[in-house]
Amino acid sequence: MKLSDVKEILDAEVIVGEDNLDLEVKTAFGADLMSDVLAFAKAGSLLLTGLTNTQVIRTANVLDIAAIILVRGKKPSTETIALAKELKIPILTTKYILFETAGRLYTKGIVGCLQKVDNASGRN
């Protein structure tokens, strides 16, 4: 689906990337721990998170994340917005909690960028 569909499904507000809503997305990953995001998230995925600092943008940039969806109504700082603009990473914010955000996207066809981790220690 397009990022504009994600916006509709989540009743989200676009904070950065109003011009990028044609972006096509198929997968997502959700976490507040950036090391988990770095370990598991795949390029081109949506990142669902409640963390709003600049490290979320750095992490998204490192991984080529398509767009960041802030959950629980979180608003990013001005530094975070500035960095997202500079690195051209869209940010949307939704009032839905992480579970609802993931569920609503899943029922509309977005799937996890992986289903299960490979072993007990959580590595993939």
Partner: protein
Amino acid sequence: MPVAETNPNLYSGSFIIEGGNFNSAGIVSTSIKSTLKKLGIPGDIVRKAAIVSYEAEINVVSYAKKGVVTLTVEPGIVRIEVADEGPGIPNIDLAMQEGYSTADQRIREMGFGAGMGLCNIKNYSDAFHIESEVGKGTRLKMTITTP
């Protein structure tokens, strides 16, 4: 690929990480990523190198006074070396255990500090070496190769 003996280095450069400056954490790995992209390195290699250097950068910012990242690109190989002036690691085996962490609240607020950094670095590197001296610093050497 060009023959290594005539022109082994496609790129060699270093980047300084300022310890304790949490706002700047990630700048160096962003630069490394764009440098590798400009050199035409394949996307999955660039991604691995960016992840590895980013986690290392977070460690330097979190624990050390200063760090120097040296990036060397040879045909088919990306080498990243991170040497810091920090407290050093008393027990490397313990530090390499996933989940072991000495991180403070500031590091955790950034979304790190869960004892995964060194594991992520090792897992995304094709070769990984760590050496550390208490009171002097830590040196990481990572190699990422084109399949």
